[in-house]
């Protein structure tokens, strides 16, 4: 049986004057999966999402959602989708419960307010004014609002930006739960761990285009049998770095992190240790890892995601 597709985007275009914010983006999102747009700030992820959310008009291309081709995202589509905006806000003088009730009233069908409050763990904060909430609580409220209509399709635009690690992990488990309950999720992020952990499919965007897509495993497998050996390079002189490069090859050094990429892990470790002994370098915080999506982006663009 062919898997069903909730959303299919073909050649989506959005130009602002000479700026090609979205420049021919295509992807499909299977039902009950997590699809991630990964890319640096300004890559066009949010613009793409805002077209699909119905608050920007596409300059070209086609959108097929819930099995129908649409020229614009109309009220009927919005009834079935939930949105967490990257920069959305709520009236600071409303209470948490009032916010949920307000948004619930916009939909023909909505979940009970208490169910939503419990879902995002804000029951004990229901009488608090929005302006008194912490950043994490606000984000939970925004998630609650996104889920108030029990949507089939959920957009989460940078859901964990600015959250502390604990709140981030809570968001990740929420996304998994949503997927398990059969919802289709479209996520944007510039955290590669997030994309790797959550996604069934990833499209990596840069300069308004999808530069590569696939499952996280497919994407990293494209880099071959490489292994990365990394250590803290603070305090190393240029001469020391040059001798390391001459000895081991394929060395990169930025953010004070020295990174060796190799297909021959054992040989590379031998060479690195003998170099360290001669140069008297302690190899602080040494780690060995397999390639990740960050490396995929780096190998395709020569830049890091968070530059």
């Amino acid at each position: 049986m062919a898997e069903s597709i909730t959303l299919r985007v073909t050649d989506l275009i959005k130009h602002y004057g000479s700026v090609r914010a979205v420049d021919g983006v295509s992807f499909s999102v299977p039902t009950a999966s997590v699809f991630t747009l990964l890319g640096p700030n300004g890559a066009g992820k949010t613009t793409t999402l805002e077209i699909l959310e119905g608050i920007r008009r596409p300059g070209g291309g086609s959108i097929e959602v819930f099995g129908e081709r649409r020229l614009r995202i109309d009220r009927a589509v919005k009834e079935r989708m939930g949105v967490l905006l990257q920069d959305g806000n709520f009236e600071p003088e409303l209470k948490v419960r009032e916010v949920i009730g307000l948004f619930a009233s916009f939909f023909r069908r909505s979940l009970p307010i208490d169910a939503v409050l419990e879902r995002v763990a804000l029951k004990e904060k229901e009488s608090a004014l929005v302006r008194t909430l912490s950043g994490g609580q606000r984000q939970r409220l925004a998630v609650g609002v996104a889920l108030v209509n029990d949507p089939e399709l959920v957009f989460l635009d940078e859901p964990t930006t600015g959250l502390d690690p604990q709140a981030r992990r809570a968001m990740w488990s929420l996304v998994s739960e949503l997927k398990d309950s059969g919802k289709t999720i479209i996520l944007t992020t510039h955290y590669m761990e997030e994309a790797e952990t959550l996604s069934d499919h990833v499209s990596i965007m840069d300069h308004g285009r999808v530069i590569v897509d696939g499952t996280p495993r497919e994407l990293t497998a494209g880099l071959g049998e490489e292994t990365f050996i990394e250590f803290d390079g603070r305090g190393l002189s240029d001469v020391q770095l040059a001798s390391l490069d001459a000895r081991c090859g394929a060395m990169r050094s930025d953010d004070d992190l020295v990174s060796l990429e190799t297909a021959d892990f054992a040989g590379a470790m031998d060479r690195l240790i003998s170099w360290a002994k001669e140069a008297g370098v302690p190899l602080r915080d040494i780690t060995v890892r397999q390639p990740n999506l960050e490396d995929v982006f780096l190998s395709l663009t020569g830049r890091r995601l968070r530059e």
Binding site: G54, L85, D87, N89, F90, F155
Partner: protein, 401 residues
């Protein structure tokens, strides 16, 4: 609950919870009503004051139908009597005692006028009846009644204008009696009463409708762009546009919420004016309520206009501030507008507030109309239409819909 009422409720609740809007939309109008009534409340009671007036009739009474001097005297005596126990007479007359020398009385009373003990001294001179007869017979100049006033004293000036009208009334009666005047055009003494509908004038009756309009005005010009533009800048509105709520449903709820805010302002001001300051003005009459609804809608439309002209909330506040002073003070909200230089008069005549205030006060019977009745509705409605048309074309909601 439909989205419209939820949006309306949100507008009302947030404006009443936010301390700044609560102050400007509710506390400040109540405060202004209190302060202005306490300071200027005396304006009305001044006119209720009984004026001390000296009256001497030196003309020889003849008791016949041409005893005009007695007619004048009776008219003033009438003013010094009260037709109801809770109303004070306009004049308290001081007349020569029996057997007192009129000359000595006149001298004494003139001194009293000079130092302010008397507002007026009225003297019907000797030979008045003869002179009047000659005058109406076409054989002489009009007969004169001498009135002494104290220059620059307000009570003196007001009493004099009352006396003038009394004399004009008597004059017409005399002319009617002798067949020289068409009675249908005769003015009566009663029209000289200051105030309205025969009631005494109270400043709070004049002020209360003005403060209600000011409160609506502030809420419309500041509250509407504040909510829309801050909502757009802080991406509060954007959050609505990713739901099935369309802008027209949002607008309906928003407008409903704004009118509910105005109704709240009205109730608070009415209760304060009615029960703290004894206002008797009939603000709850259907005509008055219709006018208030018109005013609230016109200022709402102005709010939309400002929202559409300004790029940012701060720019909108600046525009509202620029419009605030001329529109409010050249609209006659707090004080009657008298003579104005041409340019200010032009502003006044273009100002919808002028028409709303005039129309509302006329509907309430507080003042006589300054502008034609149709204009009190037509001009504000025309402004509202212009505002809505411009806003509909220009207003950005923060989404490409």
């Amino acid at each position: 609950m439909s989205g419209i009422t939820a949006v309306a409720r949100t507008y009302l609740v947030t404006n009443l919870r936010e301390r700044i809007t609560l102050f400007w939309f509710l506390v400040f109008p109540l405060f202004l009503l209190t302060i202005l009534t306490l300071i200027f409340g005396g304006l009305g009671s001044d006119l209720e004051t009984t004026f001390a007036v000296g009256l001497v009739n030196s003309a020889r009474a003849n008791g016949g139908p041409t005893d005009f001097s007695s007619m004048v005297e009776r008219a003033f005596v009438h003013l010094s009597s009260s037709d109801s126990p809770d109303r004070r007479p306009l004049f308290r007359l001081h007349r020569p005692a029996d057997g007192e020398d009129p000359r000595a009385f006149l001298d004494r009373e003139k001194d009293a006028v000079r130092i302010g003990d008397r507002a007026l001294l009225i003297e019907i001179p000797a030979g008045f009846n003869e002179a009047l007869l000659a005058s109406v017979g076409g054989a002489g100049p009009p007969a004169a009644i001498a009135i002494s006033v104290s220059g620059g004293r307000i009570s003196s000036e007001i009493a004099r204008s009352i006396a003038d009208q009394v004399i004009a009334g008597v004059n017409e009666r005399i002319l009617t009696v002798v067949g020289r005047f068409d009675p249908s055009q005769a003015l009566t003494v009663e029209s000289a009463r200051v105030g309205s509908n025969g009631r005494d004038f109270l400043y709070v009756d004049f002020l209360l409708p003005g403060v209600v309009l000011m409160a609506f005005f502030t809420a419309g010009l500041f509250g509407v762009p504040g909510t829309i533009l801050f909502g757009r800048e802080r991406k509060i509105l954007k959050r609505y546009w990713v739901t099935p709520l369309e802008t027209r449903r949002f607008l309906a709820g928003f407008s409903l919420g704004h009118l509910a805010l105005c109704a709240t302002q009205f109730v608070a001001l009415y209760l304060l004016g009615r029960f703290a300051f004894g206002a008797r003005v009939a603000l709850l009459s259907p005509l008055s309520l219709a006018f208030l609804a018109l005013a609230a809608s016109v200022f709402l439309a102005f709010g939309f206009l400002i929202s559409s002209l300004a790029r940012t909330a701060n720019a909108a506040m600046a525009i509202a501030n620029i419009l605030n002073l001329p529109m409010m003070f050249l609209g006659g909200l707090f004080f009657p507008i008298g003579e104005l230089p041409a340019i200010l008069r032009a502003v006044m005549l273009a100002n919808p507030v002028t028409y709303l205030a005039d129309g509302l006060r006329t509907a309430l019977g507080v003042t006589t109309p300054m502008v034609p009745c149709a204009a009190t509705i037509a001009v504000p409605v025309a402004w509202a239409v212009v505002c809505v048309v411009v806003a509909a074309r220009r207003l950005q909601w923060g989404a490409e819909q």
